[in-house]
């Protein structure tokens, strides 16, 4: 049997895949954070709460409206995006003229408010969300048994990340977004409604978080605190990748998910902290992040 460093290849492959699944969530969430930070200069602490909202909207749609996963996959991100747009327009946008710290504190407070409300309404314990019938079961890959749903998560997240990347790099709207990231006042003086662009960007980030939440619902328990657990890791991912770098956020998300998985093979006890160790090393060697531009 093939072994690497004394561990069977099948174990490596298995953890690689599991790492890729976690990485899918990291990538989608850190992408949204990076897009929001790039344009709004706001570190969105409410990102974890938005991820949780996506999962909850899917769960509530199923429980009260009998709407299935596929409907939720489209509707829940839109609901979260709309919520994000309303929050940005009515509240966050008032803080841009102040120190960036206010935006951070506001979104932090918002996260506490949303998560506290959901905890009050639904309790802290998790609730299961069924795997959609079309994606249930699994395939034997030879080296591991892969639940089909988890494979779907990897594909769906790759598609979502690619779509956002194309939107930003290859479309007219994306060129407004990139230009506004550099010099919003000049872009607005050209006649572009930059305040609206900020709202759309926050909504896009929120929608991505919501989509990640729906994808996560059948894998993890849907609970009010599911966002708090993951968002800490995602912030570390963003620090490693470099704030504001779109491609950096995506690649780093998958990479760190994989690093986490592979660590499970060698030294399982360290798998929970490996990302933070990498973060510390990157901060020492390259404070702007792997893909960040040195300020």
């Amino acid at each position: 049997m093939t072994t690497i460093f004394g561990y069977p290849l099948v174990v490596w492959m298995g953890q690689l895949l599991l790492g890729l699944i976690n990485g899918s969530f990291y990538a989608m969430l850190s992408l949204g954070l990076a897009v929001i930070f790039g344009l709004l200069r706001v570190i969105n602490f409410a990102h974890g709460a938005m991820y949780m909202l996506g999962a909850f909207v899917a769960l509530l749609m199923a429980t009260y409206l009998g709407l299935n996963y596929w409907v939720a996959l489209f509707v829940a991100p839109l609901v979260v995006a709309l919520g994000g747009a309303i929050v940005e327009r009515t509240m966050l946008s008032r803080l841009y003229k102040l120190d960036h710290l206010y935006g951070l504190l506001f979104t932090f407070g918002l996260a506490l408010l949303i998560e506290g409300t959901f905890r009050y309404l639904f309790g802290a314990s998790g609730q299961p969300y069924p795997v959609p019938a079309a994606l249930s079961g699994g395939v034997n890959l030879g080296f591991m048994f892969l639940p089909i749903y988890r494979g779907w998560v990897i594909i769906a997240s790759l598609i979502a990340c690619l779509a956002v990347w194309l939107l930003i790099e290859k479309t007219k709207l994306g060129s407004y977004l990139r230009a506004s990231t550099e010099n919003p006042v000049l872009v607005q003086s050209f006649g572009v409604n930059v305040p609206l662009l900020l709202t759309l960007t926050y909504a896009l980030g929120a929608g991505l978080a919501g989509l990640a939440g729906v994808l996560a619902a059948p894998i993890y328990q849907v609970s009010p605190l599911m966002g708090t657990n993951i968002i800490i890791i995602v912030f570390a991912v963003v620090v490693v990748g470099g704030m504001g770098s779109i491609l950096g956020a995506i690649i780093t998300g998958y990479m760190l998910g994989i690093a986490e998985g592979l660590t499970k093979v060698i030294y399982p006890e360290a798998s929970n902290i490996v990302i933070f160790v990498i973060m510390a090393i990157v901060l020492i060697l390259r404070p702007a992040g792997l893909f960040g531009k040195d300020a």
């Binding site: 990139r178 550099e182 006042v185 000049l186 050209f190």
Partner: protein
């Protein structure tokens, strides 16, 4: 006929610092005017206030029947005013072509991309490189070209020749004469009045936040002594 752009009693502030103390100027359709003045006298601030980039302002600004004092920044361009900033403002994360296509069209009658590439052949050659990889002269050309596409009626041009080689300055002069032939209205800010004398119809001299003189180009020879003194050249 009423002037295309009319500014009266314009005052403006950066935070607490009071920079413009009642600026009066007008520009007729098709005319090129030039604002002369030493560094720090408020020329850039005047253009930024007209655009609405500087929002702490009082006075009157009307353009083509629109009250620009009541117009938000992104609607000033739609009224037909195009701004080419002193620092040029070319975007590093956009290609030359993307930079060129960035400002939305505000009216019919702008130059087509083909016409622009004929006027600025260098930009065509380099259309796929990042905007900031261009030379200073090419960046200035690009900053002007992207506004010409939009159909803006009036160009606010802030020190286009600053730091550029004589041959490029000459090329910019040619472009301005081409624009004038097409009926473009231009507000030019310059310190190089030898260059300005070849393109402007009328001059304003700015000193400490107000206009201290106004005269047509024909009067320039008689004003040389005064200019040499106020501009400190």
């Amino acid at each position: 006929m009423a002037p295309l752009l009319n500014v009266a009693g314009l005052q403006a502030w950066y935070g607490e610092s009071h920079i413009l103390h009642g600026v009066d100027l007008h520009v007729n359709a098709g005319e090129t005017i030039c604002i002369l003045g030493r560094n720090g006298m408020g020329k850039t601030t005047t253009l930024r206030s007209i655009m609405g980039i500087l929002s702490k302002r009082t006075g009157t600004i009307t353009f083509d029947g629109t009250d620009l004092m009541k117009t938000s920044l992104h609607n000033t361009a739609k009224a037909g005013v195009g701004f080419v900033p002193e620092e040029r403002g070319i975007f590093a994360t956009l290609s030359v072509q993307e930079n060129l296509m960035l400002p939305p069209k505000v009216a019919e009658g702008g130059m087509s991309v083909d016409e622009i590439y004929t006027l600025f052949p260098n930009l065509k050659e380099r259309r796929n490189s990042p905007g900031t990889k261009l030379s200073g002269g090419e960046q200035q050309m690009l900053a002007m070209a992207r506004i010409l596409r939009t159909g803006a009626k009036c160009l606010l041009l802030d020190e286009p020749t600053e730091g550029l080689a004589p041959v490029i300055i000459q090329a910019i002069g040619d472009v301005l004469r081409t624009l004038k032939a097409r009926g473009m209205t231009v507000v030019l800010v310059e310190q190089n009045f030898r260059f300005a004398s070849k393109v402007a119809d009328r001059f304003y001299v700015m000193d400490h936040g107000t206009m201290v003189a106004e005269f047509p180009v024909a009067d320039l020879p008689n004003r040389m002594a005064m200019l040499n003194e106020t501009l400190g050249v």
